[in-house]
């Protein structure tokens, strides 16, 4: 059984946020929900300032606090290491969101189609005449399939209001042998995905002879995302250029 993990090379990351956009397009998440999020940090005082970046997605923890607190087993960890949410079982209590120290869980505060790419009003007559009334204009059909041995609806976002969603490592792509959309899109190959149990996998080879660190390792969550280079975030860092993230 593989164990899927991701490596994030902070020496390569240039903070372009292409991974965020790729995730959104692939998973049809609403505008406020950034399953993949890239912090842009500034440190120091002008003119002695330094910029750094930190991609932050679900850490797919081995000791996942979100899965432990879920009262109905909607949040669960598969044997291959991927932590998923069954959107048909989630009751919307949002306990997982509070249990997670990384802030990677996103709730659908309203009907997903209402918050989908809200740069235009999809109910506008002119827009509807161009789109043929489709709202949203595109829906990835793979997201409504059932995945895994459990055959549960776990892929993608935008399923219903009142449920929690988060990064799935693009389970619908992984089951086809593809990399997650973020890793596939990254122009500098800063995101490396694969089976960490396989010594010949790209991620194992990449991490070999490196000294990776994990986000909030002290929380005991045993994350499966490994960072290379850079340094763990601290409160001295000031976040700049925040993307729009409101409902």
């Amino acid at each position: 059984m593989p164990k899927y993990s991701m490596a994030v090379d902070l020496e390569r990351c240039q903070g372009c946020r292409a991974c965020m956009t790729a995730c959104k397009v692939e998973n049809n998440t609403v505008v406020s929900n950034n399953w993949m999020y890239v912090f842009r940090f500034e440190e120091g005082s002008y003119p002695e300032t330094e910029m750094s970046f930190l991609p932050r997605q679900c850490q797919h923890c081995d000791n996942a606090p979100c899965a432990k607190v879920c009262p109905v087993g909607a949040r669960f960890k598969r044997e291959d290491g991927i932590v998923l949410t069954d959107s048909d079982r989630c009751i919307g209590c949002r306990y997982c969101e509070l249990a997670c120290p990384y802030g990677v869980n996103y709730y659908n505060w309203q009907k997903p189609e209402k918050g989908q790419y809200d740069i235009v009003d999809w109910h506008d007559d002119d827009i509807q005449s161009a789109t043929g009334g489709a709202i949203p204009p595109y829906r990835n059909p793979d997201l409504d399939e059932l995945y895994g041995e459990e055959q549960r609806r776990t892929a993608g976002g935008g399923h219903a209001k009142g449920v929690i969603e988060k990064c799935t490592f693009c389970v619908h792509r992984v089951e086809k042998g593809l990399d997650p959309a973020c890793a596939d899109t990254c122009p500098t190959d800063a995101l490396i995905f694969g089976d960490i149990e396989d010594p010949e996998s790209p991620i194992s080879l990449y991490l070999k002879d490196q000294s990776p660190w994990q986000l909030l390792e002290e929380a005991g969550t045993k994350p499966n995302v490994y960072y290379i280079g850079g340094k763990p975030p601290n409160k001295e860092l000031k976040e700049i250029e925040r993307p729009k993230a409101t409902v």
Binding site: C70, P71, Y102
Partner: protein
């Protein structure tokens, strides 16, 4: 056997008689409940985005807000009622017997409202009820709310109220009235024979003994919902459970005092709640409020010495920042309430009006403390360097919560019109067949 009767009225304590004042109360409560339902309907139609709730982290909000605060508050209030009813029975505190049913009713009503608040806070309420039956996981602290509180405590409290009222129901079932069918149903064949009475007394005794540890365990899980979270500064800790219980006792007793005072006034000539009842409640409240203030002061000192950056950020928000007014208000109100109680205890002069003022202050302080437990750790204590968040409830949340209060008030108000809220037996003259000895303090 001393049973209340009045020659001019069929049923005692105004049962079955709809007075003008009661109709006015009904009208106001229904109006508030109706508006609360409208607000909830609006929320359901448009999603919870119409509330002030938002995701933590990148969205900079609080994902648990006023609804969860009210869950904690109402479920906390439920503690004192049933414990007072049980303690008065187990320790044979005769003076408390007139309010035993009020206490039981307060527990049932506050549990119903608290559990309703749980459902209201769910994004998928119907699915929540269904999936908790199909897929409940005991490993989740939420399991305590759904099983121990919703199942064990609520059903036990209902059984307690039912069994405790059966003897009165049997008496009322003999009186011709429009409610006779209801009283017969409640009596469910009970005829108050010596054997039945003895069996009944034993059942009630053991139920009293069993229900206290059950409710303590169940309500501790409410504290553990927060206490087992390592990912949120301010929550993780073994004291969350005991702290919840102590504050629950204080707020529950405070509400019991206020409700007893209201019932006393509402019953007029039928009133049998005398000063001795309030003296006992005042003493209990004094102990509970002292313990609650102790926990608050311990928390204050711990905050002052907080050094890790995340805990420090939370401490600043509470002591001098966004939440300082609520924090100091809660400490001030708890101190005020406790001060009034101490003054009365010292002078041995328990005045109902002063006790009610103290109770309102303590109950409000407890509500504020619940707010501070739930909210600041979400907006001001993220482990990753997200911007500070903010949350304050909006009109939708306030309206829904007002509706919950109105629903609770309606439950109690309606009960008073179908059943005597004070046990009909003369509590001041305990008899052998009551299984109570004269132990007046």
């Amino acid at each position: 056997m001393a049973v209340e009767t009045r020659p001019d009225v069929g049923l005692p304590q105004g049962v079955g008689r709809l007075t003008l004042k009661w109709k006015a109360f009904l009208l106001v409560a229904l109006a508030v409940l109706g508006f609360g339902l409208f607000a909830y309907g609006y929320e359901q139609a448009n999603g919870m985005s119409v509330t002030s709730l938002r995701s933590t982290g990148t969205m900079g909000g609080a994902t648990w807000g006023l609804y969860v605060v009210m869950v904690e508050y109402f479920i906390g209030v439920s503690l004192a009622g049933i414990v007072i009813a049980a303690v008065s029975r187990v320790f044979r505190i005769v003076e408390l017997r007139p309010i035993a049913r009020i206490a039981e009713l307060l527990t049932v009503a506050s549990l119903m409202v608290g559990l309703l608040a749980v459902i209201i806070d769910l994004g998928q309420p119907l699915r929540g009820i269904k999936n908790m039956l199909l897929y409940a996981r005991p490993q989740s602290a939420f399991f305590g709310t759904f099983t121990l509180v919703a199942g064990g405590v609520f059903l036990s409290a209902l059984a307690y109220l039912f069994l405790g009222g059966r003897r009165d129901a049997a008496e009322l079932a003999e009186i011709p009235s429009r409610l006779q069918w209801f009283h017969r149903l409640w009596a469910s064949g009970y005829t108050d024979s010596v054997d039945e009475r003895d069996r009944h007394r034993r059942v009630m005794f053991w139920l009293s003994v069993g229900i206290v540890p059950l409710i303590v365990i169940a309500l501790s899980t409410e504290g553990l919902v927060f206490g087992v979270q390592v990912g949120r500064p301010g929550w993780f800790g073994s004291l969350q459970g005991p702290d919840f219980l102590v504050l629950a006792a204080a707020s529950g007793l405070a509400n019991l005092v206020v409700l007893s005072a209201i019932v006393r006034r509402a019953l007029g000539d039928w009133n049998r709640i005398d000063a001795a009842v309030f003296k006992w409640l005042g003493r209990f409240l004094l102990v509970a409020a002292s313990a609650a203030l102790y926990f608050m002061v311990v928390e204050l000192f711990t905050l002052l010495y907080a050094t890790p950056s995340d805990e420090r950020q939370l401490a600043d928000a509470l002591l001098t920042g966004t939440y300082a007014w609520i924090f100091w208000l809660s400490i001030g109100l708890m101190t005020l309430g406790l001060g009034l109680l101490i003054a009365q205890a010292a002078s041995s002069n328990w005045r109902i009006g002063t006790l009610v003022v103290a109770s309102v202050a303590i109950s409000t302080a407890a509500l504020a403390e619940r707010y501070l437990t739930v909210i600041p750790s979400q907006t001001h204590a993220t482990l990753l360097p997200y911007d500070t968040g903010s949350y304050f409830p909006n009109w939708v949340e306030f309206s829904v919560v007002a509706g919950l209060f109105a629903f609770g008030a309606l439950l109690i108000g309606l009960f008073m019109k179908v059943f005597p809220i004070i046990p009909m037996r003369d509590h001041l003259i305990p008899t052998q067949d009551d299984g109570v000895e004269a132990t007046n303090a």
